[in-house]
Amino acid sequence: MTERLPAAFAIDHGTASTTAALIAHVDGRARILAAAAQPAGAPLDPLLAGLVGDVRAVSPELLERMDDWPALERFESATRRPPSILVLGPTEAAVAALSWAAASSGWRISGRHAAEATQVVAICEALLDPDLETLLIGAADPSTVGERGQLADLLAMMAAALARRPDRPEVVLAGGAVEAADRFEGAALIFAPAASQRAEVGSDPLRDLLAGLASARTDARDPSALPDGRVALARATASLAALLDRRIELVDVGASAGTRILADANGILGQVVRVDAALAPREAISDDAVADQVLAWSTIRADPATLRDRVRNLVVAPWRDAAGDGARLRLAAGRAALERLDEGWRLPATPDGHPADYTADLLIVSGGAFDVAPAPAVSLALVDTLRRPGAMALAHDHARVLAPIGALADEEDRRRLLADLLEDALAPLGSAIVATGIHSGRHRGTLRLTTTDGASDQVELVAGGVQLLDLPPGLVATAELTTRDGAWLGVRSHHLAVEVAGGLGGLLVDTREIPLRLPDRPERRRDLLDAWQRPLWPGTEG
């Protein structure tokens, strides 16, 4: 939004829902006046008209000059369904490395095959599939002796299949496969470096190239030509980290993919976009095991077949049935997605060889799954799944304005708008302290919370449990943990003090194990999850 214009809409077009926020200059700075979401297929103008109507009804003076609201500037981003890619390699190891590079950079893997005699029919079928758009084949650079024979066979298969296709699928040749470029005359070839054998989320030449290709492919499909929402989200996270000079982590669970980004003042440290970390992956329709990954976090009492069908309906129409048990199912799906985002989250070691630092000062959550749950329950979902010792502030991109802001081309514009909107855009969920090593018994330890206004409160810690302490938004406090046997908060000590910020969900103190151990039996697991979640979710009926 430029200084000349009084207001603008920030619009995030998701695959399942569209969110719009009305931003206007109030008292010399930009503020979010209203925000709302609707299913993606519904017309946009009524949503925008509704925002204007909401503001007019409450504070008409704010919109005096806005009779012509349809002409207002719009910052827009669009998140689209990830494109699909077929991954081929001479060996299982090569295929695994290539698949990680593609699956973590925003591609849906339509098939993955190593060159084995038993795979010939499947590989030929995949190569001739009319839906094939992009093909990734790679080997070590240079290819190893063990790979050469298999790679030659695979390339012969590819050349024969591509000769039968009237279209021109994009072919990414990685590492040693580049040498075979002259076999594919007329094909749309892209040369890429070999896949790294380390499945990490830091910058990597092949992953970076594939991420760019994924974004370009989805952009090319969309006639609206709006900037890619996932790219924009990463840019906004980096801008925010630079603005605040803090380590910022963002997790976004969308209907078609999940995104996780860690950035500091120098830029992005790690990033993944995973289709299998979508709110309810499409594979849940055909694969009970995928649906069961959601049910493993569910607190709803019903027979598994019915619940699996509810998960499948979440895939079919993610916007429907969002109240009551539907809200709890969404948060369970959100947890399952966060768990998958955490599975492969490995940052590279520092250049001087030190282990990577996974901490973040602020963890931001975004996505429809978290709109339907109260703040303490969202905080719990985050510490349930992204488990690491320490203290962090938690916030919610409730109006989904980060992606539209990230879509602004100019870094200065992004930072200026973020600086203005910080308090409005990021709803403070509160803070979380995850401390391990606290034993049950007579001397479990205490937590003293002293706010900046001088108020003090002390609670006895509960070993292996979750406690919620009231700490309203706007307050900052010092949390002091005192234990006889010592607690682990990234460092081990008998006495630890950390600064925590207040929020809608207060302060969540989590002394459970890392990783979280849950019972194998579904009923016991559900009861335990329910026992943790129920006190944090008002209005939960028996």
């Binding site: 709302a36 609707q38 299913p39 297929g41 519904a42 017309p43 009524p46 008209a49 509704g50 204007v52 109507g53 909401d54 007019r56 009804a57 010939v120 029919v121 030929c124 079928e125 001739l128 599939d129 009319p130 030659a152 066979d153 012969a156 298969m157 050349a159 024969a160 299949a161 000769a163 039968r164 296709r165 009237p166 329709i285 009970d288 649906a291 077949a305 019915t306 699996r308 069908d309 509810r310 499948r312 309906n313 079919v316 129409a317 916007w319 429907r320 049935d321 969002a322 109240a323 009551g324 048990d325 539907g326 809200a327 709890r328 339907v372 109260p374 979710w537 008002p538 209005g539 939960t540």
Partner: protein
């Protein structure tokens, strides 16, 4: 209070519209043989390809003879070349590729099954593994389809879109038909339909467990019996009990007794263009989720944001629902707009 120019502008997802002259793809296997060429007009049920049964991979040493083109059709025993040492095709099928070692890899089997056009239309393209057909009529997309594309005369098996088809109602009179089975069908009814010669079932919803049981039963049957007729299950709305959406129901009623088709890619019911129905009034809506699922009515007003169960805040509208099946009286309800579908334009 939400200010809207008209109720017709309420943010509600439109119901699945009819697709005019939908383009569908009939998937082929590697060794299948198309019987049509691009540009040809076919009628519903016309043979368009031969399916290769029990396909297997064959390796043939070429010994330096001219390599067959990838995709070339092979006949059993057909000479491929060679002067001193004659090289013959290993069977019916297609050449796939020649390995770096000089072996022809081909897919061979028996061409015994006929693939039929699921609707009348023009063949747009014949690809290596698909025939693209632009059909003449209209189509309604479903959530999923399992089985093979098929055709048959349409039989409405239930009185209302939210009824369920009892197993006992399926008999030999359904042979060759595509049966509309209401809001849900279980695995017993599906298996019986298959056994009675029914060619397809159209249903609002299906329980995932039943779907998987049926798919497993189909796989066993196909492995045991040669040349079983095609059978398709088309699910229109989702999983569990899901009444057939009113627009599709009305079109199906119009199409009763006519020849219809079920396509797999995309999952779609293909109907005669004459069965197209007039659009509903602009304020007509259907509850697609929640307590009122399947009920239709008129959207009276958009009330604004309200707190729903579990504390969820959502935009809701007041809907005058009509009487539903099983004696449900007309009633007015507040319903989340996200749970509604707009039936009108």
């Amino acid at each position: 209070m939400i200010v809207l120019a008209a109720l017709t502008e309420a943010p509600i997802v439109p119901a699945t519209p009819a697709v005019i002259e939908p383009v569908v793809r009939i998937r082929l296997g590697l060794g299948d043989r198309p019987l049509v060429a691009a540009g040809v007009h076919v009628a519903a049920g016309d043979p368009i390809a031969e399916r290769l049964r029990d396909p297997g991979l064959a390796d043939t040493r070429l010994g330096g003879i001219q390599e067959p083109e990838p995709g070339a059709l092979l006949e059993d025993g057909m000479p491929l070349g060679g002067k001193r040492r004659k090289v013959a095709s290993p069977g019916h099928g297609r050449a796939l590729y020649v390995t770096p070692g000089g072996n022809l890899r081909s897919i061979v089997g028996h061409h015994v099954e006929i693939v039929q056009a699921p609707a009348a239309g023009i063949v747009q393209a014949v690809l290596a593994t698909a025939i693209v057909l632009r059909t003449d009529g209209i189509g309604y997309r479903g959530t999923l389809m399992t089985g093979d594309p098929t055709t048959g005369r349409l039989v409405i098996g239930v009185a209302r879109p939210d009824d369920e088809l009892p197993v006992a109602a399926i008999d030999v009179h359904g042979a060759g038909a595509i049966v509309v089975a209401g809001a849900r069908i279980d695995v017993e009814a599906l298996t019986r339909s298959r056994a009675m010669g029914v060619r397809g079932v159209v249903v609002g919803g299906v329980v995932g467990r039943d779907l998987r049981s049926f798919a497993a039963s189909e796989a066993r049957q196909r492995a045991a019996i040669h040349a079983s007729p095609p059978f398709a299950l088309l699910v229109l709305d989702g999983f569990g009990k899901r009444p057939i959406p009113p627009g599709v129901w009305a079109a199906l009623i119009e199409a009763e007794g006519r020849e219809v088709g079920i396509a797999a890619d995309p999952a779609m019911i293909l109907l005669d263009a004459a069965t197209a129905i007039a659009p509903a009034a602009p304020d007509r809506v259907r509850a697609a989720a929640g307590e009122m699922t399947g009920r239709t009515g008129r959207l009276l007003e958009v009330v604004g944001r309200r707190r729903l169960p579990a504390g969820v805040m959502a935009l809701v509208g007041r809907v005058a629902f009509e009487a539903g099946g099983s004696g449900q009286p007309p009633e007015e309800r507040l319903v989340a707009l996200a749970d509604l579908e707009r039936l009108g334009p």
